[in-house]
């Protein structure tokens, strides 16, 4: 990995290969302090590199990383060639960064002394930290509401709808939507932020940042060997998520198949729903454990459904309790159970966030909800409708942003992200 002849610079230093996953940061730091240079560089190769090429984009079924920086861009030019050029440049930068390499020819500190470095430099010395960068296109990229943009006539998928206003929504436009979404996930927050920062920089003149959000802890698991994390309500979240090895469920609920779209360029892609859900943290913290468990429908300590068993025991929604079902009908589990929604499931990949405090001394914190679905019209809108109308959890939530994006399929070496859309 220590290429010296390549003009592309590797940022790599020592990092334990055992440090793949979230532990990498802390363990790596400890190891650094304790063992210094004793670690053999060769032993640590590619342990935390996720290939950005493939049939699907990375960052969807990839084992959920611990940190995220996601950003919504608006395209400021109407020049299609300029947009495509930027996507090519982004792709090259993403290919470098996901391998733990520096962006651009001169990297962070080897270019002209009289020019700003091509890489911003804050990730020098850090590994790739399982960085993935996933891009998606918003409805507004295709049309300004009256006419199409960038010559994309006829390319707008039917499934890329405008999400409706759900009961109780307090969506802030300046935190929502956007022409392009870029999700960077990594096990090191600095690596994720570095990725977004460098892509934004490359994009100046072509795109401008509309909104961005940092997530500091994953709230779902996407592989069976990951532990189910807890959200800021203190409950395990994503117990019933679709996992990376469940090919059948992925084909059914996540990946757009050939027969399932009016847009051939979307085959192998998916749709991303992103919503910033602020939690009324202080009010929740004052709710009795009884209330908390009845709202969620699960035991707080173990994650088991209120109908008994352990975390992965299927909830028994029919089991009678002292007053109605033991899992209350308006609990989150009962309300969103696939059995109530024609069996549909989502691949959820959200993150806990906090943006400090609001002006009233309360945490501005919650869940940055991200879900990947084959079609939001069947896999998200009906569920969110049911939830916003009747879910007992609503009382503690406030949806402050909303976005739906068409995530194009993955690419092979030599292609650029979004090529299927622009060259089909």
């Amino acid at each position: 990995m220590a290429e010296k002849s390549s003009p592309v610079f590797s940022r790599r230093l020592l990092l334990s290969s055992a440090g793949a996953g979230g532990a990498g940061l802390a363990v790596g730091a400890l190891a650094h302090a304790a063992f210094g240079s004793q670690l053999e560089p060769a032993a640590k190769k590619v342990a935390d590199v996720v290939d950005c090429h493939g049939q699907h984009q990375a960052g969807i079924t990839t084992a959920a990383q611990d940190r995220m920086h996601i950003v919504g861009f608006d395209v400021v030019t109407e020049d299609r060639a300029k947009l495509v050029a930027m996507l090519k440049e982004w792709t090259a930068a993403i290919e470098a960064m996901t391998q733990g390499k520096e962006v651009g020819e001169g990297g962070a500190a080897s270019g002209s002394y009289d020019a700003p470095p091509t890489d911003t430099g804050e990730a020098v010395g850090l590994s790739a930290a399982n960085l993935t960068v996933t891009i998606g296109f918003g409805r507004s990229l295709f049309t300004d509401g009256k006419k199409s943009r960038f010559g994309l006539e006829g390319k707008l998928p039917e499934a890329l709808i405008e999400l409706p206003h759900f009961s109780g929504d307090m969506v802030e436009e300046e935190r929502s939507h956007g022409d392009i979404v870029v999700q960077a996930c990594a096990n090191d927050p600095q690596v994720a932020v570095h990725a977004i920062r460098n892509l934004s920089r490359i994009g100046f003149g072509t795109v401008r940042v509309r909104w961005s959000q940092i997530g500091f802890g994953r709230t779902s698991k996407t592989t069976s060997d990951q532990q189910t994390p807890r959200n800021l309500f203190g409950f395990k979240d994503g117990t019933a998520n679709i996992l990376a090895d469940d090919a059948e469920a992925l084909d059914k609920h996540v990946w757009v198949g050939e027969g399932a779209t009016d847009q051939p360029w979307m085959v192998g892609g998916t749709y991303m729903v992103a919503r910033r859900i602020r939690m009324q943290i202080e009010v929740w913290d004052r709710a009795a454990l009884r209330e908390q468990e009845n709202v969620v429908g699960r035991i707080k300590s173990t994650g088991a459904p209120l109908s008994g068993g352990e975390e992965f025991t299927a909830p028994d929604l029919a089991m009678a309790g002292s007053n109605g079902p033991i899992i209350p009908a308006d609990s989150h589990v009962a309300m969103l159970h696939p059995s109530k929604h024609n069996g549909v499931q989502m691949l959820r990949r959200g993150f806990n966030y906090t943006d400090g405090s609001d002006g009233l001394g309360r945490l501005d914190a919650g869940l940055f909800f991200i879900a990947f679905v084959v079609d939001a019209r069947t896999h998200f809108v009906p569920l969110q409708k049911a939830m916003s109308a009747n879910d007992a959890m609503n009382e503690y939530l406030r949806h402050t942003s909303s976005g739906l994006y068409a995530v194009p399929p993955g690419i092979t070496q030599g292609q650029y992200l979004g090529q299927q859309l622009f060259e089909s």
Binding site: S167, G321, S322
Partner: protein, 385 residues
């Protein structure tokens, strides 16, 4: 907090290196805190002891059976419930905390939630150190809920009377009168808001804000009238016919609400949770100025929420005497100080409009609400035992 954010591998390492320092998990062990353990199965109810000294008793009930179970502590007559815990799912543990004076009792598990349950005698001996244990908590609880039920009935009747008056003025286009009545009448609603909200069908018709609706929902009730009276720029006022429809709907649905409110039955936990919810309403809707978007009469609502919570607390306060004196004192003080804060904004018979408050003033109010809400959230556990 930190623990929740740490990935699994780090947790494991942390646990190893911390061994020998502290053991945070020990206190969660039921056996460690003097609890009486109850092993409930589908056909047995094994209580770890059949006697305990008077005072606060804690039963840790573990359902080892396959059916949902309940656990009861019954008085000597085998009928009166001293304490109960319901909805214990298979494999689940729940605690029952009761204050019991010297006497004879029955402990009972009810697997499947049917029949008389599996009973065994349970004896409470004299309290340790000769401490007095109130023998009439049940009577105190009954007094509390009866008093509160009477309050709800009264407020609901006044709400109906006021709504009729408001509706008539609004329909007739007497804006000055309707605007004066609006915050005053709403106070009756806000005093018993958790009760009103418990009628899930009526609440959205009467009290929904525009943002609460989704496409296709009809915007009706108080906030519909509010928007028309304090019309925002670019808003097209309703016709007389439209106003009449809104007014009629408000009266009709409030009549239904009042009919139902007269028949409501309460329990101590409902009172205490209701008081807490009223403060939650203040914290999430009033302090932020979101409840009364157009009229900015949020402080009337704030005052009413506070009064409603205080009534519930005062009805329950005798249950705190001698058992939770510190909590009682704290609540009394914090209710008084928040009221004092609010009194600073009184203007005549009403209040300042919320958009006239400075940022600092709003922050102070928010801090006062938090200061009261925190001890108030401990009231339920203190009164149900």
């Amino acid at each position: 907090m930190k623990k929740l954010l740490a990935p699994a591998a780090l947790l494991a390492i942390g646990a190893l290196s911390l061994t020998g320092c502290t053991d945070n998990t020990a206190s969660a062990d039921a056996a460690g805190d003097g609890a009486i353990t109850v092993n409930a199965s589908d056909d047995a109810c094994t209580v770890s002891t059949n006697t305990a000294p008077g005072g606060t008793l804690k039963f840790n009930v573990k359902n080892e059976g396959s059916k949902v179970t309940e656990f009861y502590l019954l008085a000597e007559d085998g009928l009166r419930i001293v304490g109960e815990v319901e909805n214990i799912g298979p494999g689940v543990s729940r605690d029952l905390v009761v204050i019991a004076p010297e006497g004879k009792y029955f402990a009972a598990c009810k697997p499947g939630m049917v029949g008389d349950g599996i009973r065994s005698e349970f004896t409470v001996t004299a309290a340790k150190d000769g401490a007095a244990v109130s023998a009439d908590r049940a009577a105190l609880q009954k007094t509390a809920v009866d008093q509160y039920a009477a309050y709800v009935k009264d407020q609901s009747e006044q709400l109906l009377r006021g709504t009729k008056e408001f509706a008539a003025a609004f329909a007739a286009g007497d804006e000055a009168k309707a605007k004066k009545l609006y915050p005053e009448v709403r106070m009756h609603w806000e005093r018993i808001e958790p009760v009103a909200e418990s009628f899930g069908d009526l609440d959205p018709i009467l009290d929904a804000r525009e943002a609460d609706l989704e496409k296709g929902d009809e915007f009706t009730g108080w906030h519909r009238a509010e928007k028309d009276l304090w019309a925002p720029e670019g808003y097209k006022k309703m016709s007389q016919k439209e106003r009449q429809e809104i007014a009629d709907g408000m009266v009709e649905n409030t009549e239904e609400l009042n009919t139902r409110a007269q028949k409501l039955e309460f329990t101590p936990d409902k009172l205490a949770n209701g008081a807490k919810e009223l403060l939650d309403e203040v914290a999430t809707g009033k302090v932020t100025g979101e409840e009364e978007t157009f009229s900015h009469t949020d402080l009337w609502d704030f005052q009413a929420n506070l009064e409603g919570a205080k009534i519930a607390y005062e009805d329950l306060a005798p249950l705190l005497d001698g058992t939770e004196d510190e909590l009682n004192k704290q609540l009394k003080e914090n209710f008084a100080s928040l009221q004092k804060q609010l009194d600073a904004y009184r203007v005549g018979e009403g209040f300042k409009f919320y958009n006239e408050l400075s940022k600092d003033e709003v922050q102070e109010l928010a801090a006062g609400v938090d200061a009261l809400s925190e001890p108030l959230s401990r009231l339920t556990a203190a009164v149900v035992k």
